[in-house]
């Protein structure tokens, strides 16, 4: 499967990544190469193999339902560009 310029731009938009217009052909060729590898793997007959959701063959450990975290808002907000009344401020989101 080969990606064109429009595909690359869409992927960049979905990932919110700003890309350099000139490098789009490079990205398209690199990403197409990755997809080519995936296609190659897809061609292998895996009918007899159960799909895995994780490379480790282990089960998720569960935690007890207890509150263990205390309020550290001031620390977290010290590294935030802008806060007000305890809220993080971000560029306006229009609904």
């Amino acid at each position: 499967m080969s990606l064109d310029k429009a595909d690359v731009e869409k992927i960049a938009h979905l990932a919110r990544i700003a890309i350099d217009e000139e490098r789009v052909p490079d990205y398209a060729s690199n990403l197409s190469g990755i997809l080519g590898l995936v296609e190659q793997m897809n061609a292998v007959d895996t009918d007899a193999v159960a799909p895995m959701a994780h490379p480790l063959d282990m089960a998720q450990r569960l935690r007890e339902d207890a509150v263990t975290e205390s309020n550290q808002r001031d620390k977290f907000q010290a590294i935030s560009p802008k806060v007000e009344n305890g809220l993080f401020l971000v560029p306006k989101v229009i609904e």
Binding site: R16, M58, L62, D65, T68, R73, F76, E84, L89
Partner: protein, 478 residues
């Protein structure tokens, strides 16, 4: 042309855990902004989610309650999208292997019939934070206290055919999650929310029409209104020769209409993939069986018991068992008063419910406790007061004037059962109404009611009605 609506609901139910689904931060509602958002909830680099055991147990409870298969091997996936109240850039949810598989519930319709609605699946996921769009220096404020709160998203089959059926289904699920104690069901605080997928087709068609997804519906009343508005809108579009566009629409309760959320709907591409930070969740048979043992009596079973043990009609039993709190109130009244269950049901569904509606409060906030109502029922049973006077006593108890005995005493409402006293009042009534006595004796039995009325009036309703009838009959026939 006859149209038919096809409706499916996605219900988000916040699970009543103490801590978040993947972190040890508190889930308590109403805290100062961002004081319950820890490094995991903020999506800071290097953090790892660890799954809350209680959230898993609650999901299993729900699955058992809707007769669903429990996904004994279930997987968390990342649902990728960008929004500032989702700091990681993805929501941890479930995609291919949810914890609860196909199940079903029974709903009751207005005509008394019932219908089975399929539950497609229910999966665990984390809630997002809240965006506040009031003006903060021209910016949007973000509160991440809610981020990471466990949600059970319950997806129905497109089995509903009217807004009323959708509401009945939503109420059923609400009743189940609150009975199970896995959700507080508070719709104002957003603990129980619903999106509706609505489409219409010509009656008899096999295929579904194009659907619109309605968001932001936070009450049973609005679900019905939003769906009805949307059905009408789609029929108008189709009959006008147009096409329904697949889109997300927001319900505006103030204007009672739905409107398109985005001019240009970008096809959702969430790029789901298994979350490498979380291993598959394995649920052993033993865990499922142990959970089954903790299930309380559920609304359908309770309803059947009320019909069987108390002789209540399906309708009465359905109303009383719709809420676990109301059912508990009713049962306490029956138990403590020893009165006839049907009579207790009438009071709970009648006076109590009317007063609750009038004051806009819940049964748990009732100023007349179950014990107080039981106390009053006892006074009806032992003939201290009549059913009619009881309404006066109830209103006084509601107004905070004390329990039944205190009210009866203070207001002098005790029923007159002294035969001599009633007789002397009857004598007086008969003496003052000689004309009517003549009429009665001449064969006009209708005036009997007039005499009863006069005696009750003279005693301010306090005379025992059976005694009045009996004594009056005796006097008039003598």
């Amino acid at each position: 042309m006859e149209w038919e609506a096809v409706i499916g609901l996605e219900i988000h139910s916040q699970l009543a855990t103490n801590s978040k689904i993947f972190s040890g931060a508190s889930t308590a509602y109403g805290a100062e902004p961002n004081t319950q958002a820890c490094a995991v909830d903020l999506g800071l680099p290097g953090v790892l989610p660890v799954l809350n055991k209680e959230a898993v147990g609650m999901a299993v409870k729900f699955g058992l309650a809707v007769n669903a298969e429990i996904g004994q091997h279930s997987v968390f996936a990342r649902k990728n999208y960008f929004y500032p109240d989702l700091p990681k850039g993805y929501q941890i949810s479930q995609y291919e292997l949810p914890i609860v598989g196909k199940g079903h519930v029974e709903i009751e319709l207005e005509d008394g019939s019932s219908k089975t609605v399929g539950v497609t699946r229910a999966h665990l996921e984390e809630d997002a934070g809240k965006s506040l769009h009031e003006d903060f220096q021209g910016m949007t404020g973000i509160d991440l206290n809610r981020a990471g709160t466990p949600l059970l998203e319950i997806v129905s089959e497109p089995d509903m055919r009217s807004a009323k059926e959708a509401v009945a289904y939503m109420k059923k699920i609400h009743s189940l999650v609150t009975y199970l104690g896995i959700c507080d069901g508070n719709m104002q605080e957003g603990s129980f929310r619903c999106d509706a997928n609505v489409s219409v087709r010509l009656k008899g068609e096999e295929t579904f029409g194009t659907r619109a997804e309605l968001k932001n519906i936070n009450s049973f009343r609005f679900v019905e209104r939003a769906i009805n508005y949307e059905i009408e809108r789609q029929i108008d579009v189709l009959e006008g020769g147009g096409k329904v566009v697949q889109e997300t629409r927001l319900y505006d309760a103030d204007k009672d209409e739905t409107r398109s959320m985005r001019g240009k709907e970008e096809a959702n591409d969430y790029r789901y993939f298994p979350d490498p930070d979380l291993l598959p969740v394995v649920i052993e048979d033993g865990f499922i069986e142990a959970t089954r043992g903790t299930l309380p009596e559920l609304p359908d079973e309770k309803k059947a018991r009320y019909m069987e043990a108390f002789g209540l009609s399906a309708y009465d039993a359905g109303v009383l068992t719709a809420s676990r709190d109301l059912a508990a109130y009713f049962e306490q009244v029956v138990e403590e008063s020893g009165a006839d269950a049907k009579q207790c049901a009438n009071w709970v569904q009648g006076e109590v419910s009317a007063a609750l509606n009038k004051d806009g409060i819940e049964i748990t906030e009732s100023p007349v406790s179950a014990a107080m109502l039981a106390g009053m029922m006892k006074r009806i049973a032992d003939n201290t007061i009549s059913g009619k006077i009881a309404k006066q006593v109830f209103q006084a108890m509601w107004a905070g004037e004390g329990d039944a005995d205190a009210v009866i005493e203070a207001k002098g409402l005790k029923q007159i059962t002294d035969t001599g006293a009633i007789e002397s009042i009857i004598d007086e009534v008969l003496a003052n109404n000689a004309d009517q006595v003549e009429q009665y004796r001449a064969g006009n039995e209708k005036v009997f009611g007039f005499f009863v009325g006069q005696v009750m009036k003279a005693t301010q309703g306090k005379a025992n009605p059976q005694q009045v009838n009996q004594l009056l009959k005796g006097k008039l026939q003598s």
